[in-house]
């Protein structure tokens, strides 16, 4: 499906593929060369250069591996043995999308394509929305969209997620909320891994909040497709604006690599709650930068993993200015041979006095073979700061189990109660009641289906 006029057909890029490139790296480079001409905006000035920069950086560095600190526990050279094809067809919407009508302003992406027919985001007052595909195909809007989706990220050289999402981006949500707007209903970004073929879905999205805006964002990644998903979300939160961000990843067969890059101005607040309820491979990296004083970031994450699932929350929080507060709390429920990872690096720059940073990681291991890795990292260059971190990991508490059983509650039910209580403390952080209920139900559902912890 070519969207250009043919005048740039011969612009084949020479990629600087590194020596000893893995099969997946070679496949991804070849895929790009074959498809670059048919991706959105191919004949719009600037777009091709933007994509080329992504794939070139990727080809030079290759997939990140365990010796790159941010990827210590998620070595993509082994975990991503091969690349999939690019999604081409337009799959059917799954039933639940048609049925479910939550009270939200929704933007739906299926197989990496925006679906206006299922979306209501256009109705949100004070919010401008465009699909990235549309923005890139229009010479009048492409440059502005590209400016909001930079390649540079923390340790950009090894940021395969953003590199590949940029090279292959088929779509995304470009959202801006006007200053002072307090949205009455959440914005809901829905990404569906549909279809049965293994394929690449790449979406880059951006959301800007104007001064004093107050928004709830819900983001769900769902579907049973065996997709390779690359998604990024660039956030700009202006002074005194508040963004609550509840996210659910529930794509059991997908390999999902995602990045959030957020810039917070003075007095801004960003409160994400991220639940991973299964996924073959999940990497969620957050890079937060405080640009203005008195801003705060409060991340709460939970993972529910079984089998051989692998999930990795990696965070870099950069305090560049004084008096900002950052919190990262992660709880992992790990069964089978699953592996949960939480890495958080907090940088406190010389000017960032009165920084208050706390990290907490708790792993609940339901089997002997599950593994939880927590790696806090503090890089402090200021002297008047409060920073601490803690991590625990262990099985269900035997005394709690005995207490519940001594009250007549059978073992399996007692275990479920304790597991739900453990992740419930994260889910309770979600302000939107309807979505909080949905997530509690998901957690119960996960327990019932997985039989987690049941002896």
């Amino acid at each position: 499906m070519s969207e250009d006029g043919g005048n740039s057909k011969n612009m084949t890029i020479q990629l600087p593929i590194r020596e000893n490139a893995t099969p997946a790296e070679k496949q991804l480079a070849a895929l790009y060369s074959q498809n670059a001409e048919s991706l959105p905006g191919a004949d719009v000035p600037g777009v091709r250069a933007w994509r080329d920069a992504g794939i070139t950086a990727f080809a030079e560095a290759g997939l990140p591996h365990r010796r790159i600190e941010e990827w210590k526990y998620t070595d993509l050279r082994t975990l991503l043995p091969q690349a999939d094809d690019i999604a081409n067809d337009m799959p059917e919407a799954p039933d639940f999308l048609v049925r479910e009508e939550p009270d939200v302003y929704r933007a739906v992406f299926i197989g990496g394509r925006f679906r206006a027919d299922y979306s209501t985001v256009q109705n949100a007052p004070g919010v401008t929305f465009r699909s990235l595909r549309e923005a890139l195909n229009d010479a009048a809007t492409a440059a502005e969209a590209l400016a909001r989706l930079p390649l540079a990220e923390y340790n950009a050289e090894h940021d395969s997620v953003t590199q590949l999402a940029t090279a292959f981006a088929t779509d995304g949500a470009m959202l801006a909320v006007a200053p002072g707007i307090k949205l009455d209903k959440p914005l809901h970004l829905v990404f569906i891994a549909a279809g049965t073929a293994a394929e690449i879905h790449a979406c880059r999205s951006a959301l800007s909040l104007g001064e004093g805006a107050d928004v709830s964002l819900v983001e769900t990644h769902a579907g049973t497709g065996a997709a390779q998903m690359f998604t990024t979300l660039n956030l700009n939160i202006a002074g005194n604006a508040t963004l609550r961000h509840a996210r659910l990843d529930e794509t059991p067969d997908a390999r999902h690599l995602s990045a959030v890059v957020a810039n917070l101005e003075a007095g801004a607040a960003y409160d994400p709650v991220h639940i991973v309820a299964g996924g073959a491979l999940t990497r969620a990296q957050n890079h937060i930068t405080f640009n203005g004083e008195g801003a705060r970031y409060n991340f709460n994450g939970a993972m529910l993993l079984k089998g051989r699932e692998h999930a990795d929350f990696t965070q870099v929080v950069d305090h560049t200015v004084p008096s900002c507060e950052s919190r990262e709390t992660v709880k992992s429920v790990l069964d089978g041979e699953s592996r949960g990872i939480f890495q958080a690096k907090v940088i406190v720059r010389p000017d960032a006095q009165k920084t208050d940073g706390r990290q907490l990681a708790n792993g609940l291991l339901l089997s002997e073979t599950a593994e939880f890795d927590a790696k806090p990292e503090l890089e402090i260059y200021a002297d008047d700061v409060k920073c601490n971190h803690g991590a625990t990991s262990g099985a269900l508490d035997e005394d709690m189990l005995f207490y519940l059983r001594s009250r007549g509650i059978p073992t399996d039910e007692a275990k479920s109660m304790l597991i739900l209580a453990f992740v419930g403390e994260i889910i309770d952080q979600i302000e939107d009641e309807a979505f909080r209920e949905i997530l509690m139900a998901k957690a119960r559902d996960w327990l019932a289906k997985s039989g987690a912890g049941h002896s």
């Binding site: 005995f402 001594s406 007549g408 509650i409 304790l418 739900l420 209580a421």
Partner: protein, 252 residues
């Protein structure tokens, strides 16, 4: 069939270390028996073994309640059969609201006995009524189970469970520890309100004080992992005066 707790020649150990060494005890339904004795003599071990904690090796002996072999039952099955242990140190369970727990436990016991679940209005009525008599506020019950509760609040909550679940065999392990005199009175009144011909109580305590409020039919002295002396309620007063010196201070 006699309604009674019957413990015969019970031997139990933690690893290789014997704790109970041939304990015999019979508590008929309708009676309150107290076990007193020096610290470290196995009193709490006995209560845990009766409730089904599996940290112990039971090497010899039997325990039956109303003819049922308690030692063959899981802790939850024992609770469903009417056994209740009021813990010396009630366990804190973050993330589980006390009210949610009470309802789950009550329904699990009913289900185990083949009864229907309690309806929400009936449950709320029951909780409110029983909580009021024990001076427990509904706000407290919305908090996570025992988390941040004072010693007195924890013991009140144990007593609330006892009055709601109406067990037939009540085991009280050092219920008086950590209680001030007002809480002691409230908790004791809760226990006394449960006295009934078909219910047996085993009250474990180090001090005689509790027995001024919960008056026992019989008092047993435990030392060295066995019952070494039994008598009427006056035995408790005698022990208060003489102390446990003549019984030794250690199980070993």
């Amino acid at each position: 069939m006699s309604s009674a707790l019957e413990i015969k020649n019970l031997h139990a150990a933690i690893g290789d270390k014997p704790i109970l060494r041939g304990l015999d005890l019979t508590v008929p339904a309708g009676e309150i028996h107290a076990i007193m004795g020096p610290n470290g003599t196995g009193k709490s071990t006995l209560s845990y073994i009766l409730a089904g904690k599996d940290d112990y090796n039971i090497t010899e002996g039997s325990v039956t309640w109303n003819g049922q072999d308690l030692l063959a039952m899981e802790p939850d099955e024992r609770a469903q059969a009417g056994v209740f242990l009021a813990f010396q140190h009630p366990v804190e369970i973050p993330g589980v609201a006390s009210l949610t727990f009470l309802r789950a436990a009550l329904n699990a016991q009913r289900k185990g006995r083949g009864e229907a679940e309690i309806s929400t209005p009936d449950f709320m009525r029951l909780v409110k009524e029983k909580a009021a008599t024990l001076g427990i506020s509904m706000d407290m019950l919305k908090r996570p189970l025992n988390v941040g509760f004072s010693g007195g609040e924890k013991k009140r909550l144990e007593t609330l469970q006892m009055t709601m679940f109406t067990p037939s065999l009540c085991l009280l392990d050092e219920t008086d520890s950590g209680l001030d005199i007002d809480a002691l009175r409230v908790v004791s009144e809760g226990v006394n309100s449960l006295r009934a011909p078909d219910r047996a109580f085993l009250v474990i305590t180090h001090y005689q004080r509790l027995l001024n409020y919960i008056v026992p039919d019989k008092v047993h002295v435990m030392a060295g992992g066995r019952i070494v002396r039994s008598g009427g309620k006056e035995l408790a007063l005698e022990l208060e005066k003489s102390g446990y010196a003549e019984y030794g201070t250690d199980a070993a």
